[in-house]
Structures are given as structure tokens and as C-alpha cells.
Subunit: 536 residues, 2 copies
């Protein structure tokens, strides 16, 4: 098997990072945009140089065949892919690798693994694609466990059945986005769920973390795509019924969607799929400042038209993504349909945006006979979006702090939240000595009752202190988000990093109820400890 | 206060039942359609003739001011409004009236009531509009309690705030549908949530039972309208955060939506609202048999066009509702928008239905300047829909069995489910000696992955034995629904009547988790006993 393997410290595959010209462009951008001289790139770590703690546990013989203590496997599963993770990985800092990584071949293996962990007091960490940006897969579980065992779902990655009549697909949890789409595409179908991590994240990971896709309205989160689930908990296996809708008691699926591996391991799901769009109409509408475009974003969100894209970029965000010249905000709007042309919808949306002060440009209509892929600002933005995680690794090597944070909030509070978050980010970065910085924002999704604002920070770090610097800013921003009425996460999940703010956001009695449910499903409290809820 | 009060045994208000001409039409229809002579109408019961069991409990002095043991209050709260309920009420059979009915004035009263019930071992039954058709508010709780106390939310019925910017309204749980709309209408807004019980059901009741509205696609259930909730449980009060969306752990609201009063009492909600539609385009498309129209219903459900109405009526259903002549099935399709005309959408939908064998008729387009209200088949159907509960009372008086059952199922199983349900209904009604009967069906809602079929039964009953007769048929049908892969309820809820099939449908481990959550929120297990989950 000579396929490239996943980088154990950075984004994506080994050897598929940023190109030389991308590196040069980034360095130039840091110089010109920030007036900062990027540091000489550090060398990434080599697996042979790591000195990992010796495994504290030994899987019993029956499980040995599916378990690994190889340093690459342990390092690869030690972190997700947040900025904090990449910095630590890049520096070769792996204080909490899993003691053992298991690759179950089937559900029976998972049952055996959970039984063993429950009886031996070993923390079990479910692992899909490992793209968590919130510490969701990091085996930092304290001292209460005999050891940590990460359960990697990559061998349960089949696309088991397509029900074309009901437009649904039965998938194993370890399947990566592209592998499901490869089965659906010849049938003219698609999940149409594209998180930024699409290439390397799994169906099970999406469900466990309530991932959202690229589409800006309507079915934004995977929650709405889930028709049924299959879950293995330490207390047994559970299968919900395939149903288009039901009113029979609290929805069972919703207890497990977003449960972040704390209740059990999602092994399978039926997901709703859609026909692939054949018509697409799009425009880029220019506004002065970001605040000038929010009214149009709100109007479109409340129009009942459900654009596939309705993404407001502030001037710097537009510039950095190649979707604008930096002189104004840009609202990217698009409609898609498998059934009929979208000119009329786009025309109406553009009219609406113009009424609210926008200058439309780049109006494009594509049909089934046109070449695929959006061009112009939207195409530039999409390209930048998919490359971003690779480029971040380059910036880390140059000593830059680069991270994102995101939320959702009702429209009545969104302006105040934006002010508070920008102020907190600047104050936090200044306090941390990471200033001047660039802080850009966009709306990733819009709802009739509020937007999902998303912020990107690029700041000069001090080598060796970057994580502490970032943590200062992140804390200030997270405090501001929760104090301003936002959620600590619209689609990045809670993990270990967001836990303090999650605890403030969710009602205490709900947490107690969730903890009681966990005690039934995971009586030894071995499932992904530290995530969502703690033992009483 | 001389306003008409609610009938203690039948639908709606006292003195606002069916008209004489409606009664005559019903009698004639029973004769001609079924070849059955309707019984002479029985007289409805009078409150003074009831002999209710003496109250077994006495509320403490501090609560006496908000408590009633008046026979009318107790009888009114003894049942919901299912067929079984109306028959029993009509016959004056009230073996399980609540011992006490409380009318809390504020949340503090609710806290006091729940504290008292918890400490005194009294079952507490939350009561909104009392329109449950599944035994959800019936104080039939067995012998384990000192008594039963129904908590009527009608005094907590305020519309507290409208956030026009975020398109949301803060409502107390006891508010009836029309009272919320009266506040929203002058602002050009609407919940656009119209269950058949709209006039007499409450926001809190909708949330507790996962009610669905009249609209056939997209946001069918109240679940999607809920932005946040406030709930009083015996263990304390809980408030979720107003958010347009979140990815922070399992959604707290979703644990309580559909909890049927078993976890606590919803006291307030923020609900998403919409602009009132200004344009409406509609058509009635004729098909041969019901099965000939299901393909078009499926195509429209999967078109990505989201019609407001997409209701397939079988020939007899269309005939009885005045929406057809009985010679064919009718698909009522309509699009609505507050933003722009809907001609294009309807034209595309009609084209689609024609391609699949339909004959379009009654194509209408209405705009802001046209008179309100749909005419033609759609108007006839809507009128019949809203009158149906009143007419049912008349049929009960004539000794007819008349009830509905409903489900949702994926498209791959929907034809087989329909066959099985019709066969089970006929077999059950024959076994019960209630044949010849009319069994009609429609799709009330359609989803990309499946329809929500809804069946209406009209059968000749034997006076005094009707409930046993119906229960035989209902059991046969419910068995068939669950065996065919459907849900025991798409929007009528579980209550006490659907409990055996709910227990088969939902995963056991989910029920155990839910029970554990209940034990935390309701440690004395006093909340609506018998609903959803039992003590371990």
C-alpha cells in the first residue's frame, strides 16, 4: 500500500501540503497586509524523532489483532486539527497520545472493545476523520483511567445501500465524504453536505458533532439529513427507525446527534440525499462595510427563497479569498436546483440586495449543458475555502497564529455581538502581545432568525508561546460570544476546548438529565471522558 | 362572564356544534354512502347529571385559591377529544376525573403545585387546550398515587414580546393559536402553524406533543419553529438559549419537544414567525386511483420546490370533503410567498403532475389585491377540515364510529404499508361487527423520503359497544403500521393510547436513557404518569 498516508501533525495527506508558490504568496501577504516579517519556516517533525510515553495498557490477546501501539498510529490519533493541535504536533509535543489505537473490523469488534474498556477502566475515544478543531478526540482524560484507547472507525466505511425511491443512503460511520459521493454520483444523487473538512471527515464524525455543510440556508446541519442511526453504547446496541418524520415522543436521534462520542459510537446512519443540482445562478453583490451588507443577508434569509449560498464576506475576508479588492464587503448569493432554472430566483434576490444598497456584479446562470464549477468571486472563494487548512499549516511553520471562531445569534443581537467579539479579539490579542493582527469575518449561514458569524484571526506569534497567546484571545472572545447571547459553537462542536462556555450556555438541568442518560448508556463513564458532561 | 364555555364532553364551545342542516346532510350521507340508517341522535349529557367520584385530595390552603373541584372543571379535564373520549363523555362516563383542577396564575404557582404533588404523591397532569386525541391528558394513572391534579395553563396565555427583527415571538404556553395570531397579524406576521385543533389548542400543547401544522412540506412540525423553551420541572426551572441554530451538544430543546408533560411543564417559548403570505397559486390535479397520484406527490416532495400544500386525497376522501366527485383522487397543490408571485412554481408543479398522469384543474393565482381565502376544491377541503371535529360529535350522537389514524413511512415502504393498513382496518372492523365501513385516506404531509398517510374511518357502531369495537380495529391497524415500518404517530402524539406501539417503535436503550433523565427532572415520578416511560 503506497498511497500517501495522513500527516500525523498537519492537515490532509503527507506530501500534499501547500506548494512553493502558495508559500511565497503567504509570506508576501503577511509582509504587505500586516507589516510583519514572517519567521523562517520551521521544519515539520519526523515520526522517528518522537518520544512517546510508553503505552500504559496492553490489549488482551483477542483484541491484539485490531490494535496498534505503533508511534505513527498513536501520534496521528493524539490530536484533532485545530490551530492548537497543529502547533503542538508541529513541535513534536505529544504528552497524551492514546496508549492504544484500535481499528475494529465490524460491530462485534466495537462491542468487545467497549466491554474491555468498561471492565478495565480504560477511556475509549471514538475517532472518525480526526478533523476536530475543538479537542474532541484528544485523549487528555486526566488520571482516573488505566489508559486511553482510541477507536478508529476507518475500517467501517462502507456505503451499504442506496434507496433511490426514498432518496436515502445507508452508510457506515467511518465513510469519508468523497467515498459516499462516489457511490451517489452515478445515480445523480448527492448528500450535498460539504463541511470544510469534507475530504477527511466521516459521516459518523459529522453526526457526533452536529456538523454543518457549505449550504447557507435550509438544511444546514447534518441533523436534518439523519433519517436513522445505529449506535453501540457500552450498555448495548441501539437502532432507530427509518422515518421521514415522527411525532412519537422526544426524537431519539436528537439525543445522539451532537453527543460527541460521550454516549456511544455511531456505527451506521441512513442519510437523506438529494438530486445533484443541474441549474445554478449566482451573483456577487458589493457593499461598503460589512454592516452595510447585513440587511441584505437578513432580507434574503427571511425571503422564503432559501439560497444555496448567502455568504457575506467583510472587505478583508473578500480580499484574502480573492473574492474582492478589499474596498468593500461582498455578498455571494446563489440558487441551485435539480428541477428547473434559477434565473428568476436570482433576479429577485439581486433586486432585493440592490434595494438594500448593494451593487450586483458577476451574475451567472448555468444549466445542465454548461461546464461545471462556479467562476469569479464565488469560485475564488470556494477554492480558498478548500485550501485554507493546508495554508494554515504553512503559517504555523512561519510562526503565525491563525485560527477561527464561530457562533450563531438572533438578528436583534447580532450587531452588538459583532462589536463585542471584535473588541474582545483585539483586546485579547493585544494582551497576548499578538498585535497587529488581522481579524476578518463572514456569515457562513443565515437563518430567518439570525446569522452564523465566523471570524478568522491571523496574528504574529512568539515562537514557543503561541498557544498561550491564542488561548488568551480565545478566552476573551468566547466570553464575549456567550455574554452577547451567541452559542459557543454553530458547527465546530464543543469538545474539550469549548467546555467551559458550553457549561454556561446549556441549562444545568439539561446537563443533569444528559448525565443521567449517559450513566445508563455508559455506566463506567469510559466514553470520551471530559466531553459534554462529567460524572456526578 | 357570559362568553360560551368549552363543552365538557365534545368539541369546541358549548352551543357552537353542528347546524341542523349539517346534521341532516350527515344523516343523508350515512344513508347513501354506507347504506346504513343512522341512529336517532342521543341527547348529550348535562353537567348536573354527572356523578363524579369525590375528590380524594384537598389542596393545601395556600393553593386553594387557584384550585377547583367543581364538577364542570373536573369533567372538562377528564378527557382529551379523541373518538373514545367523546363517546365516553357523551355517555356521561367519567370514572377518572382529576380530583382537583388547578389554574396557576404564574410560574410561582406552578412551582408550588409541583412541590405539593411531589411531596404528597399526587399525579400532576399538564393541560393545555385539552384537544389530545391519544389520551394524553386523561388522569388514568393507576392506584399508585394519592390522587390526580390537573394543571390547566389557561391563565398563562400572554403574548409577551414580538421581535420583528429576528422574526420571533415570545409566548406563554397556555396561549391558543388565534390569540397569538391576533397579535402577529397587525405586524404582517404569522406562525403559519395550523393544526386542525388550532382554535382550541395551545402553544405549550403543540410543543409537548410535537404537533404539526397544515403546511405539507418544509417546517411541518412545531419542532422547527421552537427557538427556545422555558420549562418548570419538579427539580427546578430550565431556560434554553434563544438561538437560530447551534452545534453545541445534543439540542436541549429536542429533549422537551414531544415530552408530553412527562418531564415538566412548558411555560414559555420563543417561536419563529414568518411574514404573512401575499401571493398564492394553487391547483387541483385529478388522478384515477389514489395509487396513481402517489408518484406525483413524491415527485413534488422531491422537487426542492416546497409547496405549502401537497395533499393527495383518495376518491372518497375528496368526495366527502367536497373536493371531488368521487371518481378520482385529487392532489391539492399550492405555493405561497410573502415576497413574490408563485405562478412559475405552480406551473412547474402542474407540469410535473401532468407528466405523471394527472389532469390539472382549478388553477388559481392570487396576489395581495385579491380577496382572501382559497376557493374551489382547496377551499371546500379546508372548510371541511376545520368543521370535521364538530361533525364528528354529531356522528357519535348517531351511533357511528368515526376516528382517524396516521403515520409516516419512507417511500420504499409506503405502498405496502397502505395495503397492510387498509387490510387490517377492514379485518379489524369486520371482527368488531362494524362493517360495512368507509375507510378513506390522504397524505397530510410529504417529505423527500416519505409521505405521512392519514386515514379516516366511518363505521356503524353498536350503541354501548362502540369503544370496544373501535379498539379492536385500532389495535389491528396500529400493529400493521408498526410492522410495516411506519411510526405510530406522525403528529397525534403518543399519550396513553399509543403507548404499546410506541414501546415497540422506540429503541429500548433510548427509553432507559429517557427514563434516567426523567428520574432527575421528576424524582417522584409524578409528571403525567403512564405517558412515554415508566419507573424502573
Amino acid at each position: 500500500v503506497n498511497e500517501p498516508r495522513r500527516s500525523f501533525w498537519g492537515w490532509g495527506l503527507e506530501g500534499v501540503g501547500a506548494t512553493e508558490s502558495e508559500r511565497a504568496l503567504i509570506a508576501a501577504a503577511i509582509r504587505t497586509r500586516m507589516g510583519v516579517e514572517p519567521g523562517a519556516p520551521e521544519r515539520p517533525p519526523r515520526i522517528d524523532d518522537l518520544r512517546l510515553r510508553r503505552p500504559r495498557i496492553t490489549p488482551p490477546g483477542a483484541l491484539a489483532a485490531i490494535c496498534s501501539t505503533d508511534p505513527y498510529d498513536r501520534a496521528l490519533h493524539a490530536y484533532g486539527r485545530s490551530y492548537r493541535d497543529v502547533v503542538r504536533g508541529f513541535r513534536g509535543l505529544f504528552p497524551n497520545p492514546p496508549d492504544v489505537v484500535a481499528y475494529p473490523r465490524d460491530e462485534a469488534d466495537i462491542v468487545r472493545l467497549l466491554d474491555h474498556c468498561s471492565s478495565a477502566g480504560i477511556a475509549a475515544i471514538p475517532f472518525g476523520g480526526g478533523t476536530s478543531v475543538v479537542g474532541g478526540v484528544e485523549p487528555a482524560v486526566g488520571e482516573a483511567f488505566a489508559g486511553t484507547l482510541t477507536i478508529d472507525l476507518s475500517r467501517l466505511a462502507g456505503v451499504l445501500k442506496v434507496d433511490e425511491r426514498s432518496r436515502a443512503v445507508r452508510v457506515q460511520a467511518g465513510a469519508l465524504g468523497p467515498s459516499v459521493e462516489r457511490v451517489l454520483a452515478p445515480l445523480g444523487l448527492s448528500m450535498r453536505h460539504y463541511p470544510q473538512s469534507f475530504e477527511f471527515s466521516t459521516v459518523g464524525g459529522w453526526i457526533a458533532t452536529r456538523a454543518s455543510g457549505h449550504h447557507a440556508t435550509l438544511r444546514t446541519h447534518v441533523d436534518d439529513l439523519v433519517e436513522s442511526l445505529r449506535i453501540i453504547t457500552p450498555a448495548g446496541t441501539l437502532q432507530t427507525r427509518r422515518l421521514p418524520a415522527s411525532g412519537a415522543g422526544p426524537a431519539p436521534d436528537r439525543l445522539f446527534i451532537g453527543s460527541e462520542g460521550a454516549l456511544g459510537i455511531v456505527t451506521e446512519a441512513w442519510l437523506r440525499v438529494q438530486p445533484r443540482p443541474r441549474w445554478r445562478s449566482s451573483a456577487a453583490v458589493r457593499f461598503g462595510a460589512f454592516a452595510d451588507g447585513t440587511g441584505a443577508a437578513r432580507a434574503l434569509a427571511q425571503s422564503g427563497m432559501y439560497p444555496a449560498n448567502c455568504r457575506l464576506l467583510d472587505p478583508t475576508e473578500a480580499l484574502l479569498a480573492g473574492a474582492g479588492d478589499g474596498s468593500g464587503a461582498v455578498l455571494l448569493v446563489a440558487f441551485e436546483s435539480a428541477d428547473h432554472p434559477q434565473e428568476a430566483a436570482l433576479t429577485r434576490a439581486v433586486e432585493c440586495a440592490r434595494d438594500l444598497g448593494g451593487e450586483p456584479a458577476e451574475i451567472r446562470h448555468r444549466g445542465p449543458d454548461d461546464a461545471a464549477g462556479p467562476g469569479g468571486s464565488a469560485g475564488a472563494w470556494r477554492g480558498a475555502f478548500l485550501r485554507a487548512p493546508y495554508l494554515r499549516d504553512v503559517m504555523v511553520a512561519m510562526g503565525m497564529i491563525t485560527e477561527t471562531f464561530e457562533t450563531a445569534v438572533t438578528w436583534d443581537r447580532s450587531d452588538a455581538l459583532d462589536d463585542a467579539v471584535l473588541a474582545a479579539a483585539e483586546a485579547g490579542l493585544r494582551d497576548a502581545g499578538a498585535w497587529p493582527a488581522i481579524v476578518t469575518r463572514r456569515f457562513t449561514h443565515v437563518y430567518a432568525d439570525g446569522p452564523a458569524p465566523y471570524y478568522t484571526v491571523i496574528a504574529p506569534g512568539r515562537r514557543g508561546s503561541e498557544i498561550g497567546q491564542w488561548d488568551l484571545a480565545k478566552t476573551a472572545v468566547s466570553d464575549a460570544i456567550v455574554a452577547s447571547g451567541g452559542t459557543i459553537t454553530h458547527h465546530h462542536a464543543v469538545g474539550r476546548d469549548h467546555r467551559p462556555w458550553y457549561d454556561r450556555e446549556r441549562p444545568d438541568l439539561f446537563a443533569r438529565g444528559l448525565g443521567a442518560a449517559k450513566a445508563v448508556l455508559d455506566p463506567s463513564w469510559i466514553m470520551n471522558p471530559g466531553v459534554l458532561v462529567d460524572p456526578p
